[in-house]
Symmetry: C2
Subunit: 372 residues, 2 copies
């Protein structure tokens, strides 16, 4: 446990890709997707608790989710759960969180180290995750560096961003066996062709979307590359400290920030950016299809949750929402499909159309259906 | 309205083929499959009411369904709804019904005409159905004949029995434009090859499973070809008349009857069997797949009930149980499948596997699931 570390968990996701289990008011981070005992957000908090005092762990989520997150997460102080008044991408989210941290801890905050983690990714080995985090924080402190964590890709993946490193054979540090490299460049979600090239080379790693730095280093980076945000942070922290009830003013100031990702706004532009290579299993579990990867399969490669009846099926996934045991699901003679059922919704599609659940959600919005 | 006619509606079906909408306690005849306003059994009763006084319409169903049928059907006297103590096929069903009719109307019953109809078939034109019924009854009365109704096949169908007629160009009667023919033979459910041969010839018609005769003609047929049943009818009617509370005795006597169909036991053996050709639409709606035939299709040949969202689908059927409007169904990128949802069950299968829902029901029985 280190009093000099703060943790920020970005938990602002919407609830579209996991319909019919997820909802606007119950997005992915509040689901029991990767564990039957803990919501993904609970897992994220519990992963940080061995390293960071609970008073220094913050969750940034959408204002409309504030109450349900506070109800779900009771092992950190409720005032550390922050409701962003609008969606301003990851740079906005971090500006909002840092403004609160500055308001709370004052000038001393600038010397604190900060771990920015996600609320809705699967992380296989929490101990090894914390080792990577420690190595990244240590390097960021020693070198005034902005760190991210890269992950060994296990397949060509067109849904993730990649990081290209340079000094493969000369890591800059090797604390606890976690090597640290220079980042040559960040790569957007690639074509399948490019993803296959990346997969064949040890110079490419998945961008996990986590960040580690001393707060002063981050603020300097903001001043140089995102001056609007730097000013926004100052204004917001002043308002929060002196007049925390001024919700409208806070909201107006936050709304005025450009919507931009921290990768694009800071990490791709700064010259003190490095990557720590995590050797834990990581996946952003971005769709029903990707959830298949974590479920045990039977001899016909069928994966299931909630005891469906499957007759003559191959390579299908059936997800019958746990806890809703009044539904009986029967699937006969199907291949390569997903069937997902909740108390009030059913999704059926080929596995390779899992991304298109967004289209279905859009259509339901048009029809003003209640099950969103 | 003719006081000399009694109607018997055979409503003993089980609830397997239309899972998850049907159940053991809510079988096909109690579903709103072919009409959104009336259960199939209600439709069957209402089709008879213009021709038969309600006191002379009987429903024979399983004893376990007696209460729910009496609750659902309130336009005939509750004592006319009979609960068979066991399943003894259609010959047993008719023996049970006739025993009650004899007990109720005494010797006069033997001169009455009897219409035996099914509770779970689709009949398109009720007026034309009644014309066929009148023509069949009239012929049965004049000629001491056992009549059935044959229907123009609209496709080669391996799921139905067929009737082969002989005198195609010399109908024996043509009352109200309904021709009556000699039956050469009854044909069991054919192979596809044979069904195609039948389809090409005007000598073959679908066996609708309905029967028309004077009760004395039927009793004579039973005496000659099914003496056990003839004796059973006598014993049962005596018991019902003199000691209607003797449920155990009635049940024991009924149980002792051989389980046999009226087609096999009587119609295929008697020599006074004729067929009236109905020119109304008829279908036994035997499975989810066949229900597709009655639903309107969109331009991609998709049929749906209950407003599902269908994206990039072709030739699918989605049936979201009417009245259960809390379920939202989304189907994306599927072809030739069925998706059926009820409040507590979901079925997904290729259309040509619709018959196999029985396998799924068997598996659920094994698992002791409640949704049966």
């Amino acid at each position: 446990m280190d009093n000099s570390i703060v943790g920020v968990i970005m938990a602002g996701g919407s609830g579209e890709r996991f319909w019919p289990i997820s909802r606007r008011m119950r997005p992915k981070q509040l689901l029991y997707l990767t564990s039957e005992k803990e919501m993904m957000l609970e897992e994220a908090v519990n992963r940080l608790l061995p390293l960071i005092p609970k008073e220094q762990i913050f969750i940034a989520t959408g204002a409309h989710l504030l109450e349900s997150v506070r109800k779900s997460i009771t092992n950190i102080p409720p005032e550390n759960i922050l409701g962003e008044p609008a969606q301003r991408n990851t740079a906005g989210c971090l500006a909002f969180a840092v403004a609160h941290i500055l308001a709370r801890f004052g000038e001393a905050a600038k010397d604190m180290l900060m771990s920015v983690v996600t609320a809705d990714h699967l992380i296989g080995d929490a101990d090894r995750f914390r080792d990577s985090m420690s190595a990244a924080l240590r390097f960021s402190q020693e070198e005034n560096a902005l760190l991210t964590i890269g992950v060994q890709p296990t397949r060509p993946e067109t849904g993730y961003g990649y990081i290209e490193i340079t000094n493969l054979n000369q890591p800059l540090s090797d604390f606890q066996g976690i090597p640290i490299y220079n980042v040559n460049r960040f790569l957007e979600k690639p074509s399948l062709e490019d993803a296959e090239i990346y997969q064949a080379s040890r110079f490419y790693y998945w961008n996990s979307g986590m960040f580690f730095w001393r707060i002063s280093t981050m603020l300097n980076g903001f001043k140089k590359h995102m001056p609007d945000h730097a000013q926004g942070i100052e204004g917001l922290s002043e308002l929060i400290k002196t007049n925390p009830g001024a919700e409208d003013e806070i909201s107006n100031l936050f709304d005025s920030l450009p919507s931009i990702s921290i990768d694009y706004g800071l990490m791709e532009k700064a010259d003190n950016v490095y990557v720590a290579l995590g050797d834990f299993r990581w996946d952003d579990v971005g769709s029903w299809d990707s959830l298949c990867r974590f479920l045990p399969r039977d001899e016909k490669r069928n994966a299931s949750v909630g005891d469906p009846v499957m007759i003559d099926c191959k390579n299908i996934m059936v997800y019958n929402e746990p806890g809703v045991d009044k539904m009986a699901i029967c699937v006969i003679g199907m291949e390569n499909v997903l069937v997902v059922t909740s108390e009030d919704g059913v999704l059926v599609c080929p596995k390779d159309r899992a991304q298109d659940v967004r289209k279905a959600v859009a259509e339901m919005k048009k029809r003003n259906l209640g099950q969103l």
